[in-house]
Subunit: 204 residues, 2 copies
């Protein structure tokens, strides 16, 4: 496209490097910012740069944090004997929103994906093993919950983690797969429905 | 949502002020930037600020421009006797991409919309009238094409412009409404199909 100004072209090209944003959307966003108060663009620009340069990660669970230890790891009310392994911060937020988990997290920072060139060494797996080994005797890690997506990459990562965790003799579990609440049996895919029968839960 | 860091929260809140981007998408974009090279965020942040603070507008047609007159207004090969009135830069880009128009443009900078509090005085309408009045005798503006969307706001703006342009005795036309190329008669809405019959075009 023949942009009317070099500055617009640069902005569109930078915005469209973001995932899921094409040239047309980028142009729409750029023109929107041009129409608004200069302060809005300044705020956006500064917030992005500040976030990228100053964000740090919890030294224990690798979640994004403002300090050395994140709010969850610092919280004495959380159960440190149970660790939920997730891919990224979004998963932590999603599980926290359920209020059903009172343990700690471990953020892998990605998922094993040979296609994208991401191997086990690129993820925070060694630190998970060390974290289990180094846990104090009175607060020993008892269980690791793998909360990974049921995709090829998720299953590969879960399989790798199971093997890696075997020597440490902690209990390893995975989040339940089954029919979502409100889901209709008729429209569930065969694999999910099959899995929900195999992993059926007995009434108390 | 309970963000793990103040910096992320600020970035998400700034990103989600953009049109069509909610909190979830904003978080996804923020986490994407965190994973990438710092240079990408720096580039984006600088391009946005530079665009907002340094972009200027063509003094004649109000299109975005790097200089006093935009590339189209400066081009001596363009026909200055015919002006196409559009809402914003995106429309100029869209019409330029067709290669069917060799005249000049006039960018209104918006559309009359009482709901959003945008009246005629907020648009570049007076400068259009002056531009026609002040056009030199040998390059007199002969025709104004209104290229506005066939929406309520577009029709209101077109109606207002027609009235305003009447005293200057230029020919005023509008882009054709009808069945799009490749469109199927069966699926065309009644108003469009009706309009295409009323505005039928005779074969030469």
């Amino acid at each position: 496209m023949n942009y009317p100004s070099r500055l617009i072209e640069d902005a569109v090209s930078e915005i469209s490097r973001l995932p899921g944003i094409g040239k047309k959307t980028a142009l729409r966003l750029a023109l929107h910012l041009l129409k608004r108060d200069e302060q809005q663009t300044r705020g956006l620009s500064e917030a992005l740069l500040k976030m990228r340069t100053q964000t740090c990660y919890c030294v224990q669970c690798h979640n994004i944090s403002d300090e050395e230890f994140c709010n969850i790891c610092k919280n004495p009310k959380r159960d440190s004997s149970i660790i939920c392994v997730v891919v990224d911060t979004r998963d932590v937020l999603a599980i926290e929103a359920t209020s059903q988990f009172k343990g700690l997290y471990h953020v892998l920072g990605g998922i094993i994906s040979p296609l994208e060139g991401i191997g086990p060494s690129d993820l925070n797996i060694d630190s998970l093993i060390k974290r289990i080994e180094n846990s104090p005797q009175d607060e020993r890690v008892q269980e690791i919950i793998l909360a990974l997506s049921p995709t090829m990459e998720g299953d590969t990562t879960a399989f790798y983690l199971q093997k890696k965790l075997k020597p440490s003799e902690v209990k390893v579990s995975t989040i339940a797969r089954g029919i979502p609440i409100g889901g209709d049996l008729e429209y569930a895919d065969e694999i999910t429905l099959g899995r929900s029968i195999v992993s059926r839960v007995a009434y108390d």
